[in-house]
Assembly symmetry: C2
Homo-oligomer: 382 residues x 2
Amino acid sequence: MKKLDYEKLLMIPGPTMVPNTVLTSMANPIIGHRTKQYSELLEDTVEKMKKVFMTKNDTYFITGSGTSAMDMAISNTVDKGDKVLTITNGNFGERFYNIAKVYKADIIRLENEWGDCAKPEQVKEILDENPDIKVVTIIHNETSTGVRNPIEEIGNIVKDYDALYVVDTVSSLGGDYVDVDKFNIDICVTGSQKCIAAPPGMAAISVSEKAWDVINKTETKSFYLDINAYKKRYESKKETPYTPSVTLTYAMNEALELVLNEGLENRFKRHEKLAKATRAGLEAMGIELFAKEGARSVTVTSAKYPEGIKDSEFRGLLADKYGILVAGGQAQVSGKIFRVGHMGMAKEHHILGTLAAIEMAFKELGCDVDSGIDAAKEILKI
Amino acid sequence: MKKLDYEKLLMIPGPTMVPNTVLTSMANPIIGHRTKQYSELLEDTVEKMKKVFMTKNDTYFITGSGTSAMDMAISNTVDKGDKVLTITNGNFGERFYNIAKVYKADIIRLENEWGDCAKPEQVKEILDENPDIKVVTIIHNETSTGVRNPIEEIGNIVKDYDALYVVDTVSSLGGDYVDVDKFNIDICVTGSQKCIAAPPGMAAISVSEKAWDVINKTETKSFYLDINAYKKRYESKKETPYTPSVTLTYAMNEALELVLNEGLENRFKRHEKLAKATRAGLEAMGIELFAKEGARSVTVTSAKYPEGIKDSEFRGLLADKYGILVAGGQAQVSGKIFRVGHMGMAKEHHILGTLAAIEMAFKELGCDVDSGIDAAKEILKI
């Protein structure tokens, strides 16, 4: 195998750069997963995860991508014909829709324009008209469009109905404000590789009492993702039902420790500041942001390509000449937007370097943009 | 978090000890998973995996435990009411049974005594009586009992029927002889953490043409484990459908490289030799082996406790005083047997040290066993 080039700056919306102490924790020898040692490690990691979720709810880790937790949330609560409201305004909202389809839900699809956020009053209307909705799904931070959905406001509505509130916080948790209990989130799912800044491969899920009541009445439709097996094994032995990723447990424990050491409040402020600086920088360059004002993510910024810029050329130049990876658009906005991730361990200098390189790349491709650096500096110096 | 004690010798049947070059590969920075670099890494790893599977069949990695691949094998081939023959003689055979139950298969259960292996002629009889069997499941190496099932002989029978042949080689592949194509295995599943000696958290699956024909006619019953998504993404972009465990891809690539460098033949011979030495040592001590002669695994040895020995005391002493982890029995043989894993990177000195420590522990617990070292040495010096 050819030597890999590990030197690229990951300004993509995940996986994000992982601190060295987290990376090197995985170079430690393997311990047995049916030992008191592993149980203690797992319990400690779960307790840290609960603090980051801000929840008292049961919390489990899954050896899998973030999508495995999304699947677990739906397959354990939705039976054939059950009414599900999927709030979509991007590719990951679509994913919940597609998962619900596999389990043959009767789906009400509330679709907002890509680039805009969900509207709480629309959710209320649909719930009033359909009191038999069993599950409402939403993405907190729609990674594909750089949009933040108002999950607190919507949670405040859903809590007065029978429906479970299922929220994907894969690309926000640990970077943007999420309080699972205060927001009335029944099932919250997240991944290791975004704002928590651990490597990809582990997902987490929290489950409220209200959710357990539904799960207990739902048919088991998956073996690997049957949440009852996770509950049973964790409650009896503080273990996982199947062999867990031991090294990713090391990494998650260490990464969550770093998140808590920085402090959630500080972390939210840092992400907010980096987002503002990125937006200000791009706008000063004359680049139009994609997500609407008031709907913008604090962990990923989406922007429209200026006329004449080709996605592959721009991102190729940025990667090859300046060593920076940013993301393109997905699905219906493919080729039309680019996305800059500023989550996890992102720092001021990453934003400044990236903004300057974006400017240089656009100029090299014949698009005469202004400099965005001064505008970003104004934000970052505060 | 309390400092972990990484110094225990893992003589359990997985996860196994991981070579330092594999462990440290995971301390490398994360690369983007939607980059040419990752695609090249994945393709290289898949090609190595195919060599270890000895197959030309399509091969995919799943971010998940070995069980995720077992689930994928069944959920993608078995619809409600489909006839499945599950060959069981231990806890992992039971797992296939339990997975098939979740998908509401019409299950024929061929159960052999725990400690004994499956009988090819019984499989033939059942297939003759039930030509509508769609899937036959078997565990190559039944980790829970230390038994090896005759998968080549059974494969030679199943190939003449319509049924798919689904084989779990989680605790044998890379240590015991498995030739997916020669053995007519339609779906072969394995895990990273046993004989391949990578950390746990990644599973692999191979799929024959005959299996694709069935998969194409089977209802999609899982989102995360829908194999069509893996096929589509790999064929179009050499990517995974959902964010993969990047660090475990590093580790698998490196671990498979070490397997191929040692050579599969050499690796099989080493495992065979270590197994023989372990058995000879235990028998010389006066310990009765659990698995029947002719049915014994080359990657894990199971043995009955002498009268009066308590499982928790014995394994506790071995772990705390001698720093060696061995496994106890599962389910119906819990407390009655212990299991010594000798897979992956296990070497002669591990066997010798473990046999001597087992002898010392038994003596300390009041059971006057003989020494097994000389018998083991006789085997190992060859």
